[in-house]
């Protein structure tokens, strides 16, 4: 594996300078740490994807199929006919550059091809050359160029240095969305057998077994049962968990990141404690065991093939509605694609909170509720007894995950919860230009969170980490809160690299810490076994607030 430069070396290497030669002549260098590994054939075979073969990114010859050029051009034409976005976004960019310094990969690499405008131009140049008359006639003067293998390699390199976070699209005066171009560009790459190991392994595992991490149904149950036991060890309360239970009122689906590794697992414990506290009639499924959707990172179709499990399972189990966990791209998919792909969900009922009677009007067709909407409603109706002092050791700032931010608008719900589970003054915001709709990506979204890609991930995550560093120094922030499982998986190494003093936590972990059960044992630690501040010495430290 590539050696990762030290933070100060990496920061120093960011030079906002352009090469001497024009961008059409400059080609990417596949240096270890800056590219993702090629997918092995077995994953492609699992999901019947085209051209499975052994190949390697640094190789000169990528062993493309003989008719690769035809496939790409036909694929582009097909997508031009199916997506207004593609046609429109190719036609109307004026290269004003408003997007250029909005991309975290640009800010962290200084590579001009990471300006969304130029990254889009890598694809647009082919459209211009083969699908417009003016491009055929005037060539590079209107940004058109011939399609050859080096163009494909360039796409592979830069389309995986876009995490589909949509920050550029927020600033674009025409709403041109690089995420859309990246999704369609990656579809084209897949169509000639160019896929990434990390994404394809997750897709293949999820397709055949149920989740990205490839846990079998019984192994999955073991994991969740273990979290329930952990809950009991810390709180004295053993949450009752059921699997694939028909007739439950609610199907709960969380991203696999939350049962795969710390600190996501603590968030899962938070979910279990919350559901136990309110006596929720819910079940979790070994079939729809994955909230996230890596399929969406290679194609719309693969996204649909994985997403369909949610409604299928809800139908089979006969639940009334679906509750979704804390996950970023899961909610991009669930919010903006799910009903269109696999709806209508007329076999489900309009979601109503069984505890408060609140109707979730904003989910009436879709029938799926975000857990922060659900929990915020519980708190609003005074249904939870919370002791914020149990989170007194946590000084928090909140990272708005790209997808719930710019593909949904979920800003207030998590903040409302945070304010009720943390002592007053323990929550501070990062600078306004780096949060809410202007939030910065973690640098590892859209399936690029593989180990071999660490250097680019540290670069892409630099703007976010830089804002965390700011609140850490100014206010002593020691935790970064988030509602995304990929965040919880990738922020620990990112912050370890840039701001090692700051830890990562999900919001429902904080809820789990703060929940006061009637029959609980004396709580001296949080869910991570860390000592609580101001507890343990004197008795009766858990009076109501």
């Amino acid at each position: 594996m590539a050696t990762l430069p030290k933070p100060e070396e990496l920061a120093r290497s960011i030079q906002y300078r352009v090469p001497d030669r024009g961008w059409m002549e400059v080609k990417p260098e596949f240096r270890p740490g800056t590219f993702l590994n090629a997918a092995s054939p077995k994953w492609l075979e699992m999901v019947s994807y085209p051209f499975p073969r052994e190949w390697s990114v640094p190789d000169e010859d990528w062993q493309l199929p003989d008719n690769w050029k035809e496939i790409i051009l036909e694929g582009m034409e097909d997508r031009l006919n199916r997506f207004r976005t593609l046609k429109l976004f190719f036609d109307i960019c004026v290269r004003c550059g408003a997007c250029s310094d909005k991309c975290h990969f640009f800010l962290g690499t200084g590579d001009p091809k990471n300006m969304p405008v130029l990254r889009a131009e890598l694809l647009r140049s082919i459209y211009k050359r083969y699908f417009t008359r003016i491009g055929k006639a005037l060539g590079d003067l209107v940004g058109a160029r011939d399609l050859d293998e080096s163009v494909i390699k360039e796409w592979f390199y830069y389309l995986h240095q876009c995490t589909e976070c949509r920050r550029c699209s927020l600033f674009c005066p025409y709403g041109i969305d690089m995420a859309e171009l990246t999704i369609l560009g990656r579809e084209l790459l897949s169509s000639i057998g160019l896929n990434v190991e990390w994404i394809m392994a997750s897709v293949g595992s999820c397709y055949t077994r149920g989740s990205h991490i490839g846990a079998t149904p019984h192994a999955y149950k073991d994991m969740i049962d273990f979290f329930a036991e952990e809950c009991e060890r810390v709180t004295g309360i053993l949450p009752n968990v059921t699997y694939n239970r028909k007739g439950a009122e609610i199907l709960f689906i969380a991203p696999s990141g939350d049962y795969f590794a710390d600190p996501g697992t603590y968030t899962y414990m938070g979910y279990l404690l919350l559901f136990e506290y309110i006596g929720l009639d819910y079940t979790i499924s070994t079939y729809a065991a994955e909230g996230g959707n890596f399929g969406y990172f290679i194609s719309h179709e693969m996204g649909k093939r994985l997403n369909i499990k949610m409604y299928e399972e809800a139908k089979r189990l006969g639940v009334k509605w679906i509750l979704g966990g804390e996950c970023g791209h899961m909610w991009r998919v669930c919010n903006q694609y799910m009903t269109t792909w696999n709806g209508p969900a007329d076999f489900l009922e309009e979601p109503v909170s069984p505890i408060t009677g609140t109707k979730f009007e904003n989910a009436k067709a879709h029938k799926m509720v975000h857990i922060t909407e659900f929990t915020a409603d519980l708190i609003r109706h005074g249904k939870l007894r919370l002791d914020p002092r149990r989170n007194a050791h946590i000084k928090l700032t909140f990272h708005d995950s790209c997808n719930p931010a710019r593909a949904m608008g979920l800003f207030e719900e998590p903040r409302y919860i945070i304010k009720h589970v943390l002592p007053e003054g323990n929550f501070v915001e990062m600078p306004p230009n780096t949060i809410r709709e202007k939030t910065f990506c973690c640098g590892s979204g859209s399936g690029v969170n593989a180990d071999e890609f660490l250097e680019i991930r540290m670069r892409g995550g630099f703007p976010r980490a830089n804002a965390v560093r700011y609140v850490h120094e100014k206010y002593g922030v020691n935790h970064l809160g988030c509602i995304c499982a990929i965040d919880r998986a990738v922020f620990p190494p990112l912050l370890q690299y840039w701001v090692p003093e700051v830890d990562v936590t999900g919001i429902h972990e904080l809820v789990g810490n703060a929940l006061v059960f009637d029959e609980e044992i004396e709580r001296t630690t949080d869910l991570r076994d860390r000592d609580l501040v101001g507890f343990g010495e004197e008795e009766g430290g858990e009076d109501e607030e």
């Binding site: 024009g22 207004r84 046609k87 550059g97 250029s100 590079d140 927020l170 904003n362 630099f462």
Partner: protein, 361 residues
Amino acid sequence: MDFCKRQFTAALIAVLGLIAVAYVGVKAHLQPLFGVVIPYLALLLFFEGIIYRVIKWARSPVPFRIPTTASQHQSHPWIKRNLGEKLDNPSTFPYTVGRMALEILAFRSLFRNLRSELIETPQRPEGAKLVYWSYKWLWLGAIAFHYAFLTVVLRHLRFFTDPVPQVINKLAEVDGFVQFFVPTVYLSGVVLVVALLYLLGRRLTNPYLRYISLASDYFPLFLILGIGTTGILMRYVYRVDITKVKELALGLATLNPVIPEGIGTLFYIHLFLVCVLLAYFPFSKLLHAPGVFLSPTRNLTSNSRMVMHINPWNYPVKFHTYMDQENEYREAMYEAGIPVEIEPETAEETEPETTETEGEE
């Protein structure tokens, strides 16, 4: 010549060449061509080209509801949203119209623009920090250019109408309210040229912008600069006979073209450049003007969970069913206490089911 210089030079030469064409044409007494034929052709290309393009866009489907949400979504009634938030993340059609109006009339997204800078910071372990600040210059330049251009175009309607509508006269009056020169100086013309110079200047001075700029970016800038400059010259320096210009313009407008004698060459250059702009419009990035109306990340209502969005080409896909999972892991699931559809003993008696199933739509 390097890529960037080539792009700049090609566009400059193209516009200078066009000026030369018009100049030579008039000297060769081709006034009917430049005063009648080309303007009609250009208008035809302009309208036909734009209609063709817009129809092409409009007919291509919008498979997914993908608005870029720029503020809090509609959620619990107690999470209050102010007007700005309702417009930045519209959950109903009227607010979507409002969002589009802001985008088109006030360049809302560009108004959000920021600048970032990496600053050396020795006290930090990594030695650098990123800072961002609000940066409205591009917004200001763009808005100044577009509104000035609009005013100039509207003002020109007085050449094509007789009698001139009151609105146009009023507009010209307001436009020329600062009287420091005879004839009255129209502010719009000045603003137009200054804004254009700013837009050109930033393309040339910012290395990244220079790097991405194509001849097709410089060309319209030079072209409109040429139009503005010739217009200003005609009005303030090398005066042309306005009554004759109006005669020609009215003739064009009433489909009764005439070529009055003695209109200066400068006018024909001006007119020719306008024609080129019209004809070039539908083949170029200038299409952003009609295009912004159709942009799916802006013109879609953010109600994907309230109303099902239909994808006209949605098709069934192959997927792994629950029974596929159970058939593979039945024994282990049963042992782990996970409910199964068919108990292991019963399953052994029957043939295993097919592994893959076509989804139903």
